[in-house]
Symmetry: C2
Subunit: 233 residues, 2 copies
DNA sequence: ACTCGTATTATGTCTAGACATAATATTGAT
DNA sequence: ATCAATATTATGTCTAGACATAATACGAGT
């Protein structure tokens, strides 16, 4: 009957999911402790613990020391979004990637950029605009501000061959970041670069990354109409 | 000097991140094995292992048995999107939530819905349209198809007081699902319900959920303009 | 050279037990 | 009855060691 002689953490995870989905354990219920479950499944407590921690990370369980583990009432399911390089994204769709640097300027940031990065408006920054193409079709328009103090070497970088997107990932690994997804109507600039009608609905990804002490970059990616971000839960 | 007497997995994680961000270990580099690192940090192999697994899950490292662990060349960073109930989302923004059921029909699905759920076009389904409001303002318009065979009890459910969104989460915990994020121009229907101009750019979330054997529901949520999805990396 | 089987190796999983920590429950003092 | 100190308890972390598994490296035979 059973696939393996011993009980693995994956077996336990499956069994717990089964009990939840068959409503043997219902939302809000307190379930047995690790000790008890370990005895039931005939395995070590650590094995049960790993399974439970995974389910808690996925949002299905809520665990608190001393209080125990219960089935989440309002499960806040967590979906993992993969954020690849634009090049990898394009190539993953079976298209040929190319990128074009449209502009590169050393200028102080506008107020909204400075505010978003918590920088002074006089901070020297590099402003880049680039177009990512898939099979020579506009794929995404990138508008990026780079905090030169955080990555001084970018001043000498050739961003024509390697996109800023890629250069930064290779040369300035970030520690933390923020991602904001939204929909917007194409500005005249967006429309012109992407070759769509002004006002067309486009998908916007805004990304901010930080190293240990300071902001590295703020990027706004405007995707050509039809772009979808996909993930499984 | 050191904060704690023993080395914890979190300490190791921080140290590895430091070595990556200070380019002591560079993209593509093979780093020492768990055994060796455990010796360096003066802890058990399992402790190193946990730290490394977390970093690999986050996309910073690539690990393969026998081949060892190396710094990711094209780090596909993973952002965790939290998918709360619309009610929790609204309440989390400090607004008062209300929902209104606009229509409820037992009808067979249109071709694109049937195809998306891998169901026969003759399968009995429940079609629901509802509006989620925040402080009496349109927040999101939900267009949902429910596979009645998967949750027969929904036939008798009162979906006026509890939204279908919430009813399904409480009564039909799903095992897996898909999420598609996109931008679209508001259809005349979207525009009318949300009270925006037709053609306005709106953020669309399409969700499909499955139980162990069959699809449960397909939902399209059209958010009022200005909606942003936010996450940290 | 080339292929196939075998040895080796780094990560993956598991165990059994110890101690740490957070949160609740209980008790004692006021 | 109320509040603070203390005991209890379930999860969280760590250790040391064993075995499993995947993937490479190596060597024998052709």
């Amino acid at each position: 009957m059973s696939a393996s002689p011993t009980t693995s953490w994956a077996d336990i995870k499956r069994e717990v999911i089964r009990r939840i989905s068959e409503r043997i354990w219902r939302p809000g219920d307190l379930i047995p402790g690790e000790q008890e479950l370990a005895q039931e499944f005939g395995c070590a407590r650590a094995t049960v613990s790993k399974a439970m921690r995974e389910l808690a990370d996925a949002g299905l369980l809520e665990r608190r020391r001393k209080a125990g583990t219960r089935i989440a009432i309002n499960p806040v399911r967590k979906a993992t979004l993969e954020i690849p390089l634009v090049r990898i994204d394009v190539e993953g769709r079976g298209s040929t990637y190319r990128h074009a640097l449209l502009s590169r300027e050393d200028v102080p940031p506008p107020a909204h950029v400075a505010a978003r990065l918590q920088l002074d408006a006089a901070t020297p920054m590099l402003h880049l605009c680039a177009l990512h193409l898939a099979d020579e079709q506009a794929f995404a328009y990138e508008d990026r501000w780079v905090n030169v103090a955080a990555v001084p070497e970018i001043a000498d970088a050739d961003l024509e061959t390697l996109s800023a997107n890629e250069w930064l990932i290779r040369n300035a690994a970030f520690l933390s970041g923020e991602l904001t997804l939204s929909a917007a109507e194409a500005s005249t600039e967006d429309a012109e670069v992407l070759g769509v009608a002004p006002g067309a609905a486009i998908f916007i990804v805004q990304r901010i990354t930080w190293n240990a002490t300071q902001p590295i970059t703020l990027a706004r990616l405007a995707y050509a109409p039809g772009y979808r971000m996909h993930t499984s839960i």
